[in-house]
Amino acid sequence: MLLVSIITFIALSVIPGNAALIALGTEASAASLDAVSSDLGLDQSFSSRLFSYYKGLLSLDFGTSSYFGQDVWTLILQRLPLTVSLALLSLLAAFILSMLLGCAAAIYRESFIDAFSRIIVQLSASLPSFWLSLLLLLFASRVLGFSQAGSYVSMSESIPLFLKSISLAVIVLAVGESGPLLRIVRISMIGAMEEDWFTACQVKGLSKRKAVFSYALRSALSAPVSLMGLQLAKLLGGTAIVESIFALPGLGRLFLTAVEMRDLNLVQGIVIFVSFAVVMMNLLTDLLLRVVINPLSASEDRK
């Protein structure tokens, strides 16, 4: 995480342009540039800026955003409820869809449902999210008669309205994530059903349904769950386009603005936060896999 943040720091210092120039735009003059630079602390040397940043970080002070003028940690926390709910809800939808379709496709291979699931995989991979967002937005406003954009209601005000205001974004993200998930579920289910022990179960007299749902499914879960861990980490920081189109104040859009405005503290804060989330997410998936889904292999290790 430290390494990631140092790389970010260097990258932002090397790329052309700085926050002072951007703040002034085409109105910049030499005098005003100096004023803004010293206001933002950009006139200090690279090493002293780096040092003072990490000194603050040790006491969990993420600094102040140069663009918004607010505390970086507050800005991140403001966005967390939305971003976390977007990520969890869309992943949940994608998970349900791909479990149902994926299992069905694996059980009835080469059938109509299998072909349908493959179409979904293809569509999910090839539909650009911005296009799908615009399409849904127009569809909702023209056909269903409700406009979602700009009507964001935060969770603390009203939970039903909050869910309504993020529903389209959840659909778009779910479509994007369900493709890879569906493919993995289908393949691991097929894999499990081709194993020798699966045949043995049936030979032993277990019904096919029982064999599929209590044995094959469990052994096939590990790959999708690890993928979901990765997807969740990605959704926490990478939904900028969808958030921008639906005018949702999420972490991805904040990050996009921070980079555009060369807002070093804010970029750093988000990078550190997201990399922390990725590490935590991997840890959680590992734990989940070992303890909940595959306790058998875990106990075998102990013996």
């Binding site: 052309p16 703040a23 910049a28 976390v84 700009g150 005018a247 104040p249």
Partner: protein, 510 residues
């Protein structure tokens, strides 16, 4: 058993994560509960969609148009402007200019009070101007000719200039010259304190900024609340207006058709105080020859360019001057579209084998990128090869605008109220002169303009400067853009001004 236990632990962790974020939200947005639309009753909340957040709410510490769109409702300037740029009273009820033109005296309105209850008298205004001209302020350069600011008594503010600037009064109309409460100076960026018609209620970045009526403001005010809803995507803005979740949006020309001939909407299409141009680096090889720059002008068909990029919403210009100002002179037609003439001039200049120029376009201004591509296409038809690079805005600012390392670039400039501040960037020594334009006659006209007291004579000098620029063409002057706003049909009083301000206290629902 063990499994369910662990599952519950995960649930609890997830719930904690969500809820701690949620409570933080409550703290920062305490009273932003949706400005309810009470159908039937008279509406008192106006909601406007804007693309980006303000760059802080301290008018002295920002150079961003998005800031002034908001702060012009929170703070007051000494004087203001009407729709055609004439100076009208605001915080100052009246003003006098001394015979030598060096001293301006303003009579501050009686009973002006900041939104926190502090008195806004001449002393408070003087403190605010001293902050504006101090080196830390972003705009101190524009006010460097101010020698002293003094409060003569409670209502009288005296501002002395070190050199004659006949358009000095307009300096006090720009939104960045707003009078702020200096006792709150350190927190103005997020907690603005001014004497304007509205005050800040809440600002949740990238979501919504809410202003409410300032109880201490004595002027007229039809509405109670103004909400700026931040929506980066234009399609979202359009559907939001159609769905009724905002009242005012700004759109591009291609979308006008959706709202035409419909009483539910009102369309406002007016030229703004600004110009868009393709700058030419007059110090680079080839473009240092005036014949080549003329050839570029002959080679471009501005009408089809404006049609293609701005859907026809733009006023053609021939010089660096917005059509909305009173000193504007029509310079169109000096170099009409004539590709044959362009080719001939290139041959005369010694480029019969063709000429290659580098064009840089700022990536986040899609319209300038589009315009650049259309121009490049037209130049190629006339025998000029163009290498187009699309660069990030930050790179554009450092390499092209400041570094002057380019041949051609398309960009826009916001206007000012007088010819001098508008044209001084063409002075050979100016830091903003990214054209590398160097014409001693033009430099001396700039000096003459500031020293000239006679209004008619000054106008003549402004005309002459426009003539020179339109002859020398350090740029291809494209257009004065037309801004298009669409509002709900029952909303009146919303209009645009030659400087970047809104007057929401004049807006009302009928």
């Amino acid at each position: 058993m063990k499994r369910t236990k662990i599952f519950f632990i995960f649930l609890i962790i997830a719930a904690l994560l969500v809820s701690c974020g949620g409570s933080e939200e409550t703290n920062t947005s305490s009273s932003s509960a949706a400005g309810g639309v009470n159908s039937g009753e008279k509406r008192t909340t106006v909601r406007m969609a804007v693309a980006v957040d303000p760059d802080g709410l301290d008018p002295h510490m920002s150079a961003s148009a998005s800031t002034f769109q908001v702060t012009s409702s929170i703070y007051e300037t000494l004087v203001s402007v009407d729709e055609s740029g004439n100076i009208i009273p605001s915080l100052a009820e009246d003003w006098q200019i001394s015979p030598d033109g060096l001293t301006l005296t303003f009579d501050i309105r009686d009973g002006a009070v900041f939104s926190n209850g502090n008195i806004c008298d001449a002393a408070a205004a003087a403190a605010s101007f001293n902050r504006l001209i101090s080196p830390e302020s972003y705009r101190s350069g524009d006010y460097s000719e101010i020698e002293s600011v003094r409060a003569l008594d409670e209502d009288t503010l005296e501002i002395k200039f070190s050199s004659l600037n006949t358009s000095a009064l307009s300096l006090f109309a720009y939104p960045w010259s707003a009078v702020v409460d200096v006792s709150s100076a350190d927190s103005l960026r997020t907690v603005p304190v001014g004497s304007g018609p509205f005050m800040l209620e809440s600002w949740i970045p990238q979501q919504k900024l809410t202003l409410v009526r300032n109880p201490h403001y004595s002027g007229g005010n039809h509405i109670e609340r103004v909400e700026f809803v931040f929506m980066p995507d234009m399609t979202s803005q359009v559907t939001a207006l159609q769905g009724g979740s905002v009242d005012i949006i700004q759109i591009t020309g291609d979308l006008v058709g959706q709202f035409e001939n419909n009483d539910a909407y009102r369309i406002l299409a007016l030229p703004v105080n600004g110009i868009q141009l393709m700058a030419m680096n007059t110090a680079s090889d080839g473009l240092d020859d005036i014949r080549v720059r003329q050839a570029v002008n002959y080679a471009v068909d501005k009408e089809s360019l404006i049609d293609a990029v701005w859907y026809g919403y733009g006023e053609e210009i021939g010089s660096h001057f917005p059509v909305v100002l009173s000193e504007y002179k029509d310079e169109n037609g000096r170099y009409p579209y004539d590709p044959d003439k362009a080719r001939q001039l290139l041959i005369e200049a010694g480029y019969e084998d063709g000429l290659t120029l580098d064009m840089y376009l700022p990536k986040n201004y899609q319209e300038y990128v589009n315009a650049g591509l259309v121009i490049a296409n037209q130049l190629e038809a006339a025998g000029i090869n163009v290498n187009v690079s699309i660069v990030e805005w930050a790179t554009w600012l450092s390499d092209i605008y400041t570094g002057r390392n380019y041949d051609l670039t398309v960009v826009g400039h916001t206007g000012r109220l007088d010819a001098y501040s508008l044209l001084s960037r063409y002075r050979s020594t100016a830091a903003e002169n990214y054209f590398n334009y160097d014409n001693p006659e033009f430099d001396s006209l700039l000096d003459e303009y500031t020293a000239c007291v006679d209004e008619e004579e000054r106008k003549e000098i402004a005309f002459r400067m426009q003539d020179i620029l339109s002859e020398d063409v350090p740029a291809l002057y494209i257009q004065d853009p037309i801004q298009i706003y669409v509002t709900r049909g029952d909303l009146t009083g919303f209009t645009i001004f030659p400087i970047n301000i809104f007057k929401f206290n004049e807006v009302q629902f009928i």
